[in-house]
């Protein structure tokens, strides 16, 4: 549970920090922290608590999907934001 709560704290810190930057591109960095660090920590904490089971497979699938789709969304958003700034 400690690992999952550490992930929760990372996510909360990133969400609050995302309020500060003025430029939208700078905000995207904090979104990356959520999907690349916070989500794996939360998923890992739940997986450790459950052991080997079907629940673990489900949580692992969700975590992998979140981690895999995060950079794609960040790249798409970054390209759009750059175009909007021009």
């Amino acid at each position: 549970m400690i690992v999952a709560l550490a992930g929760v704290l990372v996510v909360v810190a990133a969400a609050i920090a995302a309020l500060r930057p003025r430029k939208p591109l700078a905000r995207l960095h904090f979104l990356t922290v959520v999907t690349s660090l916070g989500a794996p920590l939360v998923g890992l904490g739940v997986i450790i608590a459950n052991g080997w089971s079907l629940t673990t497979a489900g949580v692992a699938l969700i975590t992998v999907l979140l981690v895999a789709t995060g950079p794609v969304l960040s790249a798409a958003s970054g390209r759009l934001i750059e175009r909007l700034d021009e």
Binding site: V8, V11, A18, L28, G43, V46, T55, G58, R79, L80
Partner: protein
């Protein structure tokens, strides 16, 4: 309330609230980032809800949400880009 549900509470108050604030105020880019942030945080909160209530069946909600959030945000980036290109 167990530790998992405490994590959900912290996540919703400290994480989802700032994300919704970003998604509801400011320009297009700021709202888009807020939407993505809110989607990711909601998925994690739903995972913790399933764990907190010991109901693995609830995991279907974040599993669907992560896919819908991905597709939905890509549609937003596409449509906002098209709108920007219009004369």
């Amino acid at each position: 309330m167990n530790g998992w549900l405490l994590g959900v509470t912290v996540l919703l108050i400290g994480g989802l609230a700032p994300a919704l604030w970003l998604a509801c105020t400011g320009g297009i880019a700021r709202r888009l980032v807020g939407l993505e942030l809110a989607g990711a945080i909601t998925v994690l909160a739903m995972v913790l809800v399933a764990q907190g209530f010991s109901q693995p069946v609830y995991l279907i909600v974040p599993a669907v949400l992560v896919l819908l959030s991905f597709a939905g945000t890509l549609v937003y980036t596409r449509l906002l880009g098209v709108r920007e290109e219009e004369p």
